[in-house]
Symmetry: C2
Subunit: 290 residues, 2 copies
Amino acid sequence: MSRLVARMAVAGVGLVGGSLALAARRAGLVGEVTGYGRSAANLALALERGIVDRVAEDPADAAAGADLIVLAAPVGACAALADAFRPHARADAVLSDVGSVKASLVDALEARWTPSQVVGAHPIAGSEASGAGAARDDLFRGCPCVLTPTEATAPAALELVRALWAGVGARVVEMPAAAHDDILARISHAPHLVAYALVAAVADVRVDGRAVLPWAGSGFRDATRIAASRAELWRDIALANGPAVRQALAEFRAALDGLEALIAAGDGAALGATLERAGSVRRGLGGGEA
Amino acid sequence: MSRLVARMAVAGVGLVGGSLALAARRAGLVGEVTGYGRSAANLALALERGIVDRVAEDPADAAAGADLIVLAAPVGACAALADAFRPHARADAVLSDVGSVKASLVDALEARWTPSQVVGAHPIAGSEASGAGAARDDLFRGCPCVLTPTEATAPAALELVRALWAGVGARVVEMPAAAHDDILARISHAPHLVAYALVAAVADVRVDGRAVLPWAGSGFRDATRIAASRAELWRDIALANGPAVRQALAEFRAALDGLEALIAAGDGAALGATLERAGSVRRGLGGGEA
């Protein structure tokens, strides 16, 4: 793979940012990767694991000379990072991100950067793990990465970000930011909130003096594994994509209400058919054990 | 391990019934295991895999001479199986089951059998897999198995069923059937229905002509894996434990409504704290990758 940029700065060297840095370095896509972040311990681990070449002391050190700056911090922290980097960055530096919400975030970044040089990106990969210790160079292999260019986006900037994600193994897809946000609200954001609610609903429940939680089997653990994700990430996503998330939750509630109405009516035939149809759809998705 | 019974009949040689039969045979707990079920192909597979010693042709053949009969069929099918076995079973044959609902089922079995010889049991183990092909001799190792004896239960019958489950590696616990059903409604039955609803809610949704489902990442797959379970099982469980399941769904809805209210209010501090608390509870449960 040929080198795409001489210097990439990654703000937030966690699961996603760290995996991108690691994969890009190993694939020879970047000359040097600078890591920047809040946790000195995490940055030290990233350096030790060879995820980054060097650690920046401050925003000026992180942004100086970078061809490409990737924001891999919680969605709610990205605008402030762009503000912090802007005075120190090259005029033609490309600014990208990895956030699970695109429309409001890309708007905020275009307002703070040369708009043509902003490219919104969202690799659909990850897990409930976090930190540089969880970074893997194969995290994005075969996963979709959605790019959401706007009318302002320069073709060269878009091409650079596309080549970066393709170079680490992702299947790159373009779509409008609003469509991305409506899709992710339904297939990711609302399900995460549902998983958190499943845990919250039973956390303190006792039956005849017995706590409920210790009886969790593998089914409950699977269904709620994503609730072990960093709360800060999902707080920011839920707030940044609020209207779409609430619409998705309304659709989920309608589906659940439908099941409950069949239980209340004792309608075994319709309940069985509804569950079987959903089961068949789920089996069609495959295990996703990866 | 010393032999507990000369002959055990298992009605329903799927994941749970098949795993019990396999583990009991390998541990030397039973002299002979007879398998009975609806699917000739599944029974043939059970015979080929050494899960059962022989396959019964009909209820009379299955019940004749059995010391212990274990019903490992969907909850809604168990009463009819008890009716079918009764005329052919020994007067002192112990009847047990593995159902995820206990009060209504144990009532139904005691009404059809010598009540002292009925022992309700529920091993909290399993997965979305099904059939004799999924049976494993270590499925119950370290998992809880709840027994729900009633005032009618004979100590010897209870002891036999306890020794069987302990012998295949389960941690045997006794509790009243009603408490079991209230606990399982919250930690298992309602979460299964939630997982089915998550799939049903997005199955047909399209955004700007794009289906939503292909964008499912590992989080959605984890959260909905249990919706790949056999629909028939969960239909029966939801109906047999209806009031407790509806109460559990009401508690879940209240938790979800609470999250949504914080999103609607844009209250990032409270939303973050609520998610963090649930996340901390979930991390305390461990991965449950088994």
